[in-house]
Symmetry: C2
Subunit: 119 residues, 2 copies
DNA sequence: GAAAACCCTGGAGCGCGCTCCAGGTCAAGG
DNA sequence: CCTTGACCTGGAGCGCGCTCCAGGGTTTTC
């Protein structure tokens, strides 16, 4: 099984090393395995989780929610609940896309109005 | 011409009174007219501008950019430049909508994968 | 075997965008 | 009048999500 140094994990995940440590402190990542000297070694599993984390962060999920989600993940029996949470989040993402489009529409009307005034 | 007390301006614009004062301090609003005793009186023009500000904020324009835009507005001759800035912003909004949709797609794939695992 | 590069910890600091507070002035109703 | 509530100013404080730093160990490279 491949493992990754902190620098490699940062490279692959797209998070900075500091952010990876921060997420671990916050409980968003479960404790990362260490070498005998204390250096972290990330696994493919960790990177897979980080990929989901990236997706959730990029779609606006707050750190606190991510943390709760991660805590749920500690218990295998909560799988259905977690999927439900992801679906809730998907709905919120849809709402924010819709809101953004609505505002974009307004913005375009403003621009069109300026244009009609002979800009 | 209708004028508005701070509370009314807040009500209509959707910003809090504190935020209105903050925007004025920051130069995002030009100095609001005052009564002889120093109380602000917002005009329809002010509210029109605030409507655009709301639209720009909701679509993610940072305060600093809004401020630059507002400074440009002080000079009538910059109208074309301002419209160009709005169009730039519109493009950025489109990009963030696209990005959001891309991530939403990824999210939905993750959900589908969990579902396929028998959740 | 020494320099350079990497990693560790705990905690401070920061940028953003407000939000709140103290201490005071002003205006409208009873 | 006097109370009540809205408003004023300057400045402090806050929540979020990192980001950076000091002071120290480790691993790799030449």
């Amino acid at each position: 099984m491949t493992t990754y140094s902190p620098a490699q994990a940062a490279e692959v995940s797209g998070f900075s090393i500091d952010t990876l440590r921060y997420y671990e402190r916050e409980g968003i990542l479960r404790p990362i395995a260490r070498t005998s000297s204390g250096h972290r070694t990330y696994t493919d599993d960790d990177l897979g989780w980080l990929d989901l984390v990236h997706c959730l962060r990029d779609t606006g999920m707050p750190i606190a929610d991510l943390k709760r989600y991660a805590e749920l993940s500690l218990d295998e029996a909560t799988l259905a609940a977690r999927v439900a949470l992801l679906e809730d989040h998907d709905r919120r993402v849809q709402e924010s896309i819709d809101a953004l489009r609505g505002q974009q529409e307004k913005l375009r009307e403003k621009i069109a109005w300026y244009r009609s005034q002979g800009v």
